[in-house]
């Protein structure tokens, strides 16, 4: 199943034409390489043109693209090794959050991330990456493990929101989010967060209280989903594209506002067109951050993280 958004339609039409031509050439044994090259150049031009003018709402769609690489894809593509660990030690193991021990370019580290599902069954199992309290409690347990063995922490953020259901409320979803942030703030090892897809409000910041916060080019990070914002602002959830503009939820805006440290470029046509290259870019960026942070003393790392968030806020003084 191919999912195509409006702005991607002309590209995918060209892509099918190229594929058809290739098949035809192979079947009939004809040389159509010049036509194919011409179409591919056209596709490249079109991609450049379209991706040069993406609106915030297009980025929302890209961040939620069903073919976009997910946390475990990045872990598989960028790590030399990964051993997933399970459970919050309080009775649960939330599949919406994955975590474990990884080797990455000479570093041994703890990775924690939100995981979406690729098909219907997995989506249900992963609860659309909406973590329950036990997910954040698993994350905290792994953060403490990292602290104990002096391992740096990498979090991969990709969630529409924390799970809002009755069950999660009953087990203290708010407290779990707050404690997860606090646990990250108390760490004295280097921590890096990458927003790889959707950075959905409290569910996202719960895993993003890090020394360095990076965002993929077409990821989004927002205090409220644009649909929810539109319902409040315009009393019409269909006006989500306008709300996406108002919320300034793109990586570019977050960088301009000084809330993230780096935007990691995605390949032309976004991460789902080339997960391998995207993962390599994430790897390079993360390693660079780890190299810099590793030179800092444990207490300095904690204080650096405190100051990083402490200066965030825009107000006037009279």
């Amino acid at each position: 199943m191919m999912t195509i958004f409006d702005f991607e339609k002309p590209i995918s039409e060209l892509e099918s034409a190229i594929a058809e031509l290739r098949q035809l050439a192979a079947e009939k044994g004809l040389d159509r390489s010049r036509e194919i090259a011409e179409l591919e150049a056209q596709r490249e031009r079109l991609l450049k043109q379209i991706f040069a003018h993406l609106r915030p709402w297009d980025k929302v769609l890209l961040a939620r693209h069903p073919k976009r690489p997910y946390a475990l894809d990045y872990i598989r593509l960028m790590c030399e090794n990964f051993l997933e660990l399970h459970g919050d030690r309080l009775g649960f193991d939330d599949p919406a959050i994955v975590g474990g021990l990884a080797k990455l370019g000479g570093y041994r580290l703890v990775i924690v991330g939100q995981q979406k599902g690729r098909d219907l069954k997995e989506r249900q199992k992963r609860n659309f990456a909406m973590a329950k309290p036990e997910g954040y409690r698993k994350a905290m347990r792994l953060f403490r493990l990292a602290e104990k063995f002096r391992l740096p922490v990498l979090t991969l953020v990709d969630t529409p929101a924390a799970d809002p259901g009755v069950e999660s409320e009953s087990r203290g979803i708010s407290e779990a989010i707050a404690q997860s942030m606090l646990t990250m703030f108390e760490l004295t090892v280097p921590t890096v967060s990458v927003i790889i897809g959707e950075g959905g409000s409290g569910g996202a910041i719960a895993l993003a209280a890090a020394n360095r916060v990076l965002m993929l080019e077409h990821a989004i990070y927002s205090v409220i989903p644009p649909e929810g914002c539109a319902a409040i602002l315009y009393r019409d959830p269909n006006k989500a594209p306008q709300a996406a503009d108002a919320l300034k939820l793109t990586a570019e805006s977050a960088l301009e506002l000084g809330l993230i440290d780096l935007v990691i470029p995605e390949p032309l046509g976004a991460a789902h067109r080339d997960p391998q290259t995207t993962a390599l870019s994430v790897r390079t960026a993360v390693l660079q951050q780890l190299d810099e942070l590793s030179r800092m003393e444990p207490d300095a790392l904690r204080e650096h993280r405190y100051q990083r968030f402490r200066q965030m806020g825009v107000y006037e003084t009279v």
Partner: protein
């Protein structure tokens, strides 16, 4: 939400309870700290009223009164909402902070005002809350915060989300200084405020019947199998589920807070 709102003001002399709809004689109602003598409903208080009802007379000294909200994103209608918030609450932001004495104990105190844009947390609220914890840590003072908020302030976008992290980090500072932090959940304590500094207190007290929860009721119901319980997202529900230590009627708050301070503070801090 109407049901939970401030009491209907019919005239100077009489008010109507927003829950049981009984007509109340205003001087009695005020003397009862706006708790309905018939049904016990706790009506919302303005931040300033709350602080003055809680601390020793003439001891409240406001801090950071010079902070004013900005409109960093140029968000639609924000300037207008801020203006209305000031008019409704009589404050220039959704929280009032300061220092005071509580039964002789030196404290840092803050109270949120739901009348100012639903008590939402943007940059100013985040900054004032963080400064409360930092002040407590530096001056070795306990911190008491009265929460009343719908959550993070949408109009400051991602900057508001970052206030959750900032205030949480500041709680950590106070914890390391070994000073107590007591949160009082009043109606309502929700979303981004509940999911950050509010839930991290050493002791959590809630007023009876206060709405306390993460997501809106409709969102929560949609995301769940079966119907939410009748008391879903009330202080009582959170108490049943281990998220709130004590449900304390308004009249009992001052003695309860005093007892907690007496238990946590070193003996030298007593009997001033």
């Amino acid at each position: 939400m109407q049901r939970r709102g401030v009491a209907q003001e019919n005239s100077e002399q009489w008010v109507q309870c927003s829950k049981c709809k009984k007509i109340l004689f205003r001087p009695d109602f005020e003397r009862a700290m706006r708790v309905c003598p018939h049904c016990g409903h706790h009506h919302r208080l303005r931040a300033r009223e709350r602080i003055l009802l809680t601390v020793d007379a003439d001891t409240f000294q406001e801090t950071d009164a010079d902070l004013r909200p900005a409109d960093p994103l140029g968000f639609p209608d924000y300037a207008d909402k801020l203006h209305k918030g000031s008019a409704t609450s009589g404050e220039n932001e959704a929280i009032l902070t300061g220092t005071a004495l509580l039964n002789g104990y030196d404290i840092v105190i803050g109270a949120m005002d739901f009348g100012f844009m639903g008590g939402s947390m943007g940059s100013v609220v985040g900054e004032k809350v963080a400064r409360c914890f930092e002040r407590g840590a530096e001056r070795k003072l306990p911190v008491i915060l009265f929460c009343a908020s719908g959550g993070a302030r949408m109009q400051e976008g991602l900057i508001s989300l970052m206030q959750m992290a900032k205030t949480t980090a500041a709680v950590g500072k106070l914890q390391r200084a070994g000073m107590p932090y007591i949160a009082v959940f009043t109606d309502p304590t929700m979303a981004g405020v509940l999911a950050s500094f509010a839930s991290l207190a050493d002791v959590i007290v809630a007023e009876p019947g206060a709405l306390v929860g993460f997501a809106g009721q409709r969102v929560a119901a949609q995301a769940s199998v079966g119907k939410p319980p009748a008391n879903f997202q009330t202080a009582e529900f959170q108490h049943e589920h281990g998220m709130v230590d004590l449900i304390v009627p308004r009249k009992q708050l001052r003695p309860t807070l005093t007892y907690l301070l007496e238990m946590f503070l070193p003996v030298e801090a007593h009997a001033r």
